[in-house]
Symmetry: C4
Subunit: 172 residues, 4 copies
């Protein structure tokens, strides 16, 4: 979704306030699919484009973190590869986000959240910059100030990082 | 497929009668693909969206179950993760469904079935609410009272659960 | 591709003569992708729809076989699951096909071949009923008397089996 | 992208000068996805179409090589299967390419490079024939003299090899 589809000034203002962006994992870093093996182990499909984006975010002084409902070693594996903080197995994502922000001294108004389904609603409602991926569930689309052009797992994370880095660069 | 494409009153009436929904596995919970490894083991691709939908179904007082032709540990693995009952290796799905309904004291008219291929025909013909996924085989399309907008493995199960939960909520 | 796009009479006549259909594996039973693991092992993506089609072919008195260039255990694994004969590691597919037909006393004019790339050209040129998948390489499209509507690995095999079974049923 | 979309004479002239084509791996040989397993191991999705193309390139007297940023055994596994030289774990792709060209006595003007993201920019700017895949990041599109019709991992490598072989054949 081009910047123009939203209130550009609002978006720029929210991006300028950002100190942290929390990403849901399944459906955001992945295409919301899960590969199930005979022994119950799982695998997920991520995008190689995301790593470069996350480094841009950090260079812009913004910490990217992952907050995931699933208790799953693949989330840990991916976040370690991407060298970003992650907390998985979050029954209550908002409570976890609240705690993580408090530890860092970051306010909700300085926080972005990227989600794709109704278990992200509480976080999306609370943060300064709620974002959803192109193929998010219909029930979370309306709350977002930004919806990506690219679907989850197909460059949505990179698109958000590129957008934020571009705005921060232009408004230093 | 929007509710409007079907006889809305019929659909609402059938949904109000539901006590159980039986899902085929391959092509419904998955995109009908199978990943084949060198040692013959298999994996399948499912959607993370389905879990939330199945919980909604249960909250509406409807039991979701899986009835699959394939004798395959991946079906067991997935159903355990989703915490729903499954029976796999069903040569004759209708006989198995008949037995499972009898055990539960549920009638065929109170049952939904979601399928995608001709080995689902016997079940689809018998139940009160026959449903197929968007990308079902042409030979089973005509029998369905509901065809999903989303393809199998890409949110079809969630779409059905959302629809049923919405109708039940509206007609309590 | 609907039957109408081809010379219908020619197609029906060729289908009536069939006693065997040889399928290439990669790009026909699969989407021509290969999943590569860190230890060099491979996996491929097939369609669950194919099994039902192959049984129809056999019921119509036609033997389905796989002839693959790749020397790869996944071909063996898949053909065993599908319960059809396979020969993999075929440097020269035509020589192998020639030998297999001779063993069975089947003529090239009674044989169909389904391919997707230029290493299938020699076989496609020799058989009575050359077929290609929707997404075959441009250099093999012209030689086919039938091109599937569905891409390889996404129901192309099933589509061919359904077509042949339908014609055989109608012209018994 | 058809040849006609570019300056045809320029393209033909550059192809006639080629002695080596260096390919990025992720996003070029793959669809830029990575499959992440619970133990952190990874797999990638490649195309079976590429092998035939690489053999054509070699027959035209052009060496194909892979130069990848990722330190990853899957790159080695795939290049071994494809029987082409690869160097992975390249922090600085341009420095590595410079070294590999020097070893071979090949000039940058005799070199093609196929990339998909901003970490390919330095190489794309330096070589005689910079190329990108259909679904490359927007920030690298402008520098290419050729952009493939097919996306990375879905035949982009084959398309480039076919194009080069065709031009070389026509202008011997």
């Amino acid at each position: 979704m081009s910047l123009a589809s939203f209130d550009r000034d609002t978006l720029v203002s929210r991006i300028r306030s950002l100190r942290l962006v929390a990403f849901d994992f399944d459906g955001v870093f992945t295409d919301n699919s899960v590969y199930v093996f005979q022994d119950g182990r799982e695998a997920v499909r991520c995008s190689r484009a995301d790593g470069i984006g996350l480094r841009k975010l950090e260079q812009a002084g913004i910490e990217p973190i992952i907050v995931s409902t699933e208790t799953n070693p693949v989330v840990v594996a991916r976040s370690e590869k991407l060298k970003i903080f992650c907390r998985h197995g979050c029954e209550n994502k908002l409570a976890v986000l609240d705690e993580l922000l408090a530890e860092r001294g970051v306010g909700f108004h300085e926080t972005g959240f990227v989600g794709n389904d109704i278990n992200d609603l509480a976080c999306l409602e609370k943060v300064g910059m709620p974002m959803v991926v192109r193929d998010a569930h219909p029930d979370v689309l309306d709350i977002a100030v930004y919806r990506t052009d690219l679907p989850g797992g197909h460059g949505a994370v990179r698109e958000i990082c590129d957008l934020i880095a571009r705005v921060r660069e232009a408004h230093r």
